[in-house]
Amino acid sequence: MPIRVQTEDFDFAAELAQLRLANPKIGAVVSFLGTVRDLNDGSSVAQMELEHYPGMTEKALAAIVAQAKQRWEIFDALVIHRIGPLLPLDQIVLVAVTSAHRGDAFAACEYIIDYLKTEAPFWKKEHTDQGARWVDARSSDDEALAKWEQDGLPLPMRESKK
């Protein structure tokens, strides 16, 4: 399960091709591509900066992917997340999942990005016309996790639930 945290851009099509050509049993590839918007909370965003926690980031992403592999029949998952300065329209994150059939691939891909957004240690700082500001976590991201917790499986990174 390749996991990469990098400053440089990536080739979306080449990454998906490499992932899907690795195994002729693959019948479905589902991907999520996150990109930088030029507007957030009413301010125009000129630039974004992504900070992370080297070491923990990779461990957190690996744990999330491992959890997805336990829950669904998937062959592989790819996560690429960029760090450093980014501009509107830039690619910021890619999650791609392969499986025999689409159902597992859709679910696993959504699961991975939902947990990435709440458990992987990345932080966004926006440069707007009103100055620089750290982006606040969204409660909608926490709510997105609720649908995955209903079957009582443990969260990937928590030692114990509250």
């Binding site: 926690y53 966004k124 750290w134 990174m157």
Partner: protein, 92 residues
């Protein structure tokens, strides 16, 4: 001096808005015997006062990690471990 011979040392890491507020990204901390959990470290640092008291206040929604895994206030420390404090994450 004798009581310090067995003192635990941990590495502290701070990220994002917290790092900026404290003007510090990392620090090595020798722990008094009373500090045994991640929550204890937070209280201990808060007692430094000033920006520490404010940035690590109980009401602040901070995440904590021990040895690069999410932790809670009850997570027990071990010598040479790494304790990190940071705001809720906003990647993706």
């Amino acid at each position: 001096m004798i009581e310090h011979e067995n003192a635990m040392k941990i590495e502290l890491r701070f990220f994002a808005s917290l790092r900026e507020a404290l003007k510090l990204s990392q620090e090595v901390l020798e722990l008094p015997e009373t500090v045994t959990t991640v929550g204890d470290v937070r209280s201990y640092l808060r007692a430094r006062g000033g920006v520490w008291a404010d940035a690590l206040a109980d009401g602040r929604a901070l995440r904590m990690a021990f040895n690069q895994e999410l932790a809670n206030a009850d997570t027990v420390l071990t010598d040479g471990g790494e304790v990190a404090f940071f705001p809720p994450v906003t990647g993706g």
